[in-house]
Amino acid sequence: MSCIADAFAASPNGKAFIPFITAGDPTLEVTEQLVVGMAQAGADLIELGIPFSDPTAEGPVIQEANLRALRNRATTDDVFAMVERVRVICNVPLVIMTYANVVFSYGIERFAARQAELGMGGVILPDVPHEEKEEFSEPFAAAGLDVVSLIAPTSHERIRAIARDASGFVYCVSSLGVTGVRSEINTDITSMVRLVKEERPDLPCAVGFGISTPIQAARMAAVSDGAIVGSAIVRMIGEHGSSCVEPVCAYVRDMATAVHSV
């Protein structure tokens, strides 16, 4: 429906590499350079976080990025203004990742309208499960955008119902717990993806949480339609500050290559 499905279709092998960054960390100017740079380095879809004061689904690395961005006063309007500047030179598919209250407070319809205006794909809201989705997905669908559904290792029999109502792609949470780098992922991702595909053969399914190495990314992409990487990148941004663009883009190039070679 939105540019999200196209992002998967346009990739060399139909598999998407999806990096996540928190907008405003370390500054919105650097975020702007990162978006453009990561697109050039092979990112198929970029997950852009609007910072929230209390990111309950995040581990320490992304929590700190949220706080850094908020200290820089990166507001929802500032993030949209930054995307507007990006759009002059770059049309990479973008999806917003934030928390329900950020969208609700802005006005769900107003938020969707602004995203549509900027040619964005929609939102990922980790604190909006299937039961509460409609309040968001109806106004977003009306604006031609997706509210991405998540499935988790605990979802079991819920996966089919979630997949039936999903749009854009299904975000497959690889592990219990919050975001953060993990040395291994033991969940049976293949079975989770199979349940999604049985309901919706054409709906892309990308895996996130815990992925940090090209080998992990390739392994996850092999059993799904893509890999999402957040904490590993956000940690580099935290370490390198305003000089993070070059190392992050080099890392994204390696990761995208790994996903596209599956």
């Binding site: 507001t75 209250n101 950020v102 039961e131 717990g177």
Partner: protein
């Protein structure tokens, strides 16, 4: 802003289940178990035994004769939840949830705590029932409430400091939710107030409703009539909803929730959610929250760590919307005055949280007539607050 057709646990437009997918089956399982056991006579008999023989229920409804004479208006009754085992109403909810968790086969309780009262109550129930217990507490609160930290450890609980955000209650709640997403199978999140995702606001309310079930019968027995108003302090709102619940159908009884205004509702240093907040979605529920124009949750302040929370339970939000309950804001100064007043007048040292309700009763009673009745819930005892109040009055007293 129509509610999702499958959304559960609504109080008017408030409530719901705004949590990560990882936790959905856990809350559905909890709801199912609660539906089953809340109708199970053996579960209810066991809980009643724990209430009566372990926690010391029923709690007294005490006629505060000195206070009544001094204020020169309505008769003031105090519902003495401060006399419960562990010194507060928190034990009512904790015994219920621990028993429920045990029936569900859980062996481990996790909980958030602000001042430490809910943490102590959870550690107590875990010790009693032979369960493992981990309590999350903001690093700042651990420093302010060192005695309660030690008390929890004494009871066999592990206390984990939370450094995230403002290192206070809201961050402890967030961290406990994070922990729950990483370990669900053997673990029950024993939430301390009528907040969070469905079914917590309903479960906690039902366990706390024992307060008004008793006080309604007690006042009818003593006075032969219902009170004119019931007062209780509101942070998340568990003692207040427990104090209100069985009076809700009695339309002549005013229900008054007393929020913490901190340094005043016209300042940033306040925790008065209904007076200063607006509709939002946080910590699993739609309700009123102190937040900025972009929905960032505001740092809140009150002298009372137990009321220092930026949200309010969804049932209170709905009772506010419908006008069935009123919510007033009480400042630090007023609460401290009431804390000292009740200590001197009745020989009862209230928790600083409960002192917010006493403060409003002190304003209300003199404007009422001698044949009118106020019931004020003393949610907890004030021993934990003595050092902080001394410091507020300029005395350098440390525990």
């Amino acid at each position: 802003m129509g509610n999702s057709s499958t959304s559960r646990g609504r109080f008017g437009i408030h409530g719901g289940q705004y949590i990560p997918e990882t936790l959905m089956n856990a809350v559905l399982e909890l709801e199912e178990a609660y539906d089953r056991y809340s109708r199970d006579p053996s579960f209810n008999a066991e809980l009643t035994n724990l209430f009566n023989d372990y926690a010391g229920r029923p709690s007294l409804l005490y006629f505060a004769a000195n206070m009544t004479a001094d204020l020169g208006g309505a008769k003031v009754y105090l519902k003495r939840e401060d006399l419960n085992h562990t010194g507060a109403h928190k034990i009512n909810n904790v015994l219920g949830q621990a028993l429920l968790a045990k029936r569900m086969g859980k062996t481990r309780l996790i909980a958030e705590t602000g001042a430490g009262q809910h943490g102590v109550a959870t550690a107590t129930a875990a010790a009693l029932m032979g369960m493992e217990c981990v309590v999350y507490m903001g690093r700042e609160d651990m420093r302010r409430q060192a005695l309660n930290v030690y008390r929890m450890r004494l009871l066999g609980a592990e206390v984990r400091g939370v450094d995230a955000g403002t290192a206070t209650l809201k961050d402890a709640v967030s961290e406990t939710f994070r922990e729950w997403t990483s370990r669900i199978d053997d673990t029950h999140y024993c939430l301390g107030s009528v907040m969070g995702p469905h079914p917590f606001p309903t479960i906690v309310r039902d366990f706390q409703a024992v307060i008004s079930r008793e006080s309604r019968a007690q006042i009818l027995a003593v006075e032969g009539r219902l009170p004119d108003a019931v007062l209780a302090c509101v942070g998340g709102g568990s003692n207040a909803i427990g104090s209100f619940y069985h009076f809700i159908p009695d339309k002549t009884v005013r229900l008054i929730g007393c929020e913490a205004a901190g340094r005043g509702i016209d300042t940033w240093e306040t925790a008065a959610t209904i007076s200063t907040g607006r509709l939002g979605i946080f910590h699993g529920m739609k309700s009123y929250f102190c937040q900025d124009e972009y929905g960032q949750i505001a740092p809140v302040y009150s002298i009372s760590a137990g009321l220092d929370y930026p949200g309010v339970g969804p049932e209170h939000a709905a009772l506010h919307d419908s006008g069935r309950a009123e919510y007033v804001a009480v400042t630090d100064d007023e609460a401290v005055n009431a804390f000292e007043y009740l200590s001197r007048t009745e020989g009862v040292i209230p928790a600083i949280e409960s002192a917010h309700a006493v403060a409003h009763a002190m304003k209300l009673a003199p404007r009422m007539s001698a044949d009118q009745i106020l019931v004020v819930t003393l949610s907890g005892r004030g021993d934990k607050d003595v050092a902080a109040i001394a410091r507020y009055r300029g005395e350098d007293l440390h525990e």
